[in-house]
């Protein structure tokens, strides 16, 4: 009974908001409808509506998947510095970080579903009912760790919110092991995703031991960028308290991550270009194009330039501590990693293809619309969940308030 009242109350909360909030909801809904019709076309006619072909058989969808795994991982890894530096609102950071992780994992799985040719056969991947190729296939590993990660985070965040809602003291012995376990799991999901590509000797571009470390470093740039902006919004609109120093500290940690990422990439580039074997082709295609085929160059350089500007903005203390430049930097690094993972990581793995042929790939309208749909659904979900979490954590939304409302209703009914 309480559960239904909770659902009822939560719906009331997510429908409450100012004009900006409603504009945001309408914007997301329009994107979902626009993207949904694009995806419908793909469902009807097949993946031929994408620009993927036999030469480039994975592309934008799987790139988005990879990016979001990074976001999901980094959201939780932020708990480490919060703990080490003893930021005051550690519980809140855990709650919002894990909520973001939950939404990001749901988006990841959605991107896999839209990428496979027979989404209805998804159950073939499950153990027992299907024939999961475990432990051989890295894809079944990835699926396994992602699902495990989803449930751990879902459990921790629901349990914490439940306790706050019922005004109970949460049991540290229950929560702590799960929070501690979710941190190596966060590392695991991104590492396994890197291994997914890394383990293919046929694809020379990915067949580098640096791939997994580079993944983690880049995730630590993009994931906290979202939380950085979210924390500022929360601070402005709710009773959430986080000191400027903590935000600057996150930015500082992001600079380290960016530097490590840059260093790894330079090391990779040095090895490739100095040895100058035929393996250099893929980097050449990414950075300069091969012959007439330069379509992808604009993506790679825009990612490099955005990333570099963000690095400089975060590196200089003055711009790091100015909230305008800090936020510009956060958006830039987010966009940079998005383009890097979405396009610059996947496409050169396939171009030139294994037989040396070049098929020029750029995302089709259907792919862009489908991706827009998934991102909008994810953001919508995150908005709703955050709204409810904010009400529970900061505003007076709890079992007492529900009882109060119920009593009031009864009184009005009696009259």
């Amino acid at each position: 009974m309480n559960f239904f009242r909770f659902i009822n109350g939560s719906i009331k909360i997510i429908l409450r908001g100012n004009k900006t909030y409603y504009a945001w909801l309408i914007f997301l809904s329009l994107l979902i409808i626009w993207g949904g019709f694009g995806y419908l076309g793909q469902l009807r006619e097949g993946l031929i509506k994408s620009h993927m072909r036999d030469s480039v058989s994975w592309a934008f969808y799987i790139g988005n998947f990879t990016f979001l795994v990074g976001v999901a991982a980094a959201a939780v890894m932020l708990v480490i510095p919060a703990y080490v530096y003893n930021w005051k609102p550690i519980k809140e950071i855990v709650i919002f970080g894990e909520l973001l992780a939950v939404c990001a994992v749901i988006m990841c799985i959605s991107f896999i579903v839209v990428d496979i040719g027979n989404p209805l056969r998804f159950w073939h991947m499950l153990p027992i009912v299907g024939t999961m190729n475990f432990p051989s296939s890295m894809l079944s590993w990835d699926f396994f760790v992602l699902i495990a990660y989803l449930f751990i985070n879902l459990f921790v965040v629901t349990y914490l919110l439940y306790c706050i809602f019922y005004k109970k003291e949460y049991n540290r012995k229950v929560v702590l092991p799960f929070v501690l376990f979710s941190i190596p799991m966060a590392v695991a999901i991104h590492t396994v995703t890197a291994f997914l590509y890394n383990a293919l000797p046929a694809r020379i571009f990915w067949n580098s031991a640096l791939l997994a470390p580079r993944f983690l470093a880049s995730a630590f740039c993009s994931g906290p960028a979202i939380l950085l902006i979210l924390f500022q919004i929360l601070r402005k609109t709710t009773k959430f308290e986080i000191k400027d120093e903590a935000i600057w500290r996150i930015a500082e940690l992001m600079v380290y991550a960016m530097f490590i990422y840059l260093f790894f990439t330079v090391a990779e580039l040095f090895k490739e270009f100095y040895s100058g074997t035929e393996h250099i082709l893929y980097w050449k295609y990414l950075l300069f194009g091969i012959g007439e085929n330069k379509e992808i160059v604009v993506y790679s350089w825009s990612s490099i330039i955005m990333g570099f500007i963000a690095f400089v903005l975060f590196l200089i203390p003055k711009t790091r501590k100015n909230f305008l430049t800090l936020n510009i930097g956060a958006v830039l690094i987010y966009a940079s990693v998005y383009v890097e993972k979405g396009i610059a990581l996947i496409i050169p793995g396939f171009t030139p293809d294994v037989l040396g042929q070049i098929y020029v790939y750029t995302p089709s309208m259907t792919e862009i619309r489908t991706a827009a749909m998934i991102f909008s659904i994810g953001f919508l979900l995150f908005t709703f969940l955050s709204k409810i979490a904010i009400a529970i954590v900061f505003d007076d939304y709890n079992i007492d308030s529900l009882n109060r409302d119920a009593r009031r209703e009864r009184v009005t009914n009696d009259k």
């Binding site: 036999d54 040719g117 027979n118 699926f143 294994v354 037989l355």
Partner: protein, 296 residues
């Protein structure tokens, strides 16, 4: 009490409605059957027989022809191997089209299991400088040689390792096959294959009814559906009946050789013994059973 009743009757009505809707559309039951079909390798002999019979009936209904779908297992004591004479191949692509016809590959969108690469003689086997779209009046072109590539039927197939659902596997006679009804279409195998031998049905495959080959194997040339991966099977529907693959039969210069690697007096063993053979991308340790050699 009354309220309870109304809820119960509502539930009853809605389940009745659902069942009658399902019953009315008989084809939907077939779709459900197909949806619930299990991995071919886990089926018993009886289940396989029933499946094959249903398939033959289904194809007959769809194409209006008699079909013979085989599920013949590998013959004991066979391990198929292939050898291709690089010095003879003239790049005419007859094998490509014979394969398309034999194996019911989609014409539009076009799928070719064999890719013929035109290479420059001065560069040797160099994929980066090869061309698959060559289109002169006459082949062979001066200064070039030709390297046809199809599934190399690796002893250590990467595509099988990575498949998350075990929809593809190596048969006892060495042929790597796909269960088209089990493949989820994730295309991980395509990323893993170093030879570009796997092809995806990006759209609904389309084979003209009058050209369809009715002699089929469940794991080979039966019609595929949208969203699944397919590949060369050494013409499993032919070779398990003792015939040559279509590409071997059509080759006008006799560049293609095929046989049982376990048979000491087979032609393929003669080639391995008396010619010097190479395999493609040997450094990847895929150990192909598809060899290239120089006959003259």
């Amino acid at each position: 009490m009354k309220k309870e009743n109304s809820r119960r009757s509502f539930l009853k009505n809605i389940s009745l409605a659902t069942f009658s809707a399902l019953a009315l559309s008989g084809c939907d039951m077939k779709a459900i059957d197909e949806f619930l079909q299990l991995n071919f390798r886990t089926l018993s002999k009886k289940e396989k027989d029933k499946l094959i019979k249903d398939l033959e009936a289904k194809y007959k209904g769809k194409y209006g022809k008699e079909f013979n779908v085989s599920a013949k297992p590998a013959i004991e004591g066979t391990l198929f191997g292939y050898a291709l004479d690089l010095s003879r191949c003239i790049g005419c692509r007859r094998c490509v089209y014979a394969c398309v016809k034999e194996n019911n590959q989609s014409r539009e969108p076009q799928i070719h299991w064999i890719q013929v690469l035109q290479m420059e003689k001065e560069k040797g086997i160099d994929f980066a400088h090869s061309d698959v779209q060559y289109n002169p009046e006459k082949v062979p072109e001066k200064g070039h040689f030709y390297l046809p590539v199809q599934c190399q039927q690796c002893r250590n197939p990467q595509c099988v390792t990575v498949c998350p659902v075990k929809a593809t596997w190596q048969e006892p006679d060495g042929i790597v096959v796909v269960d088209y009804n089990w493949c989820i279409g994730c295309r991980y195998c395509m990323a893993a294959c170093p030879y570009g031998a796997r092809h995806f049905n990006w759209g609904e495959p389309n084979v003209p009814v009058e050209e369809i080959n009715t002699e089929m194997h469940y794991l080979g040339n039966r019609p595929r559906m949208k969203g699944v991966v397919e590949k060369c099977t050494f013409c499993v529907q032919r070779t398990r009946e003792g015939k040559y693959p279509a590409c071997v039969e059509i080759c006008p210069v006799g560049a293609r050789k095929f046989g049982n690697l376990l048979d000491p007096v087979s032609e393929i063993r003669y080639i391995l013994e008396n010619k010097r053979v190479i395999v493609l991308k040997q450094e990847l340790n895929t150990q192909p059973k598809f060899y290239y050699f120089f006959g003259i």
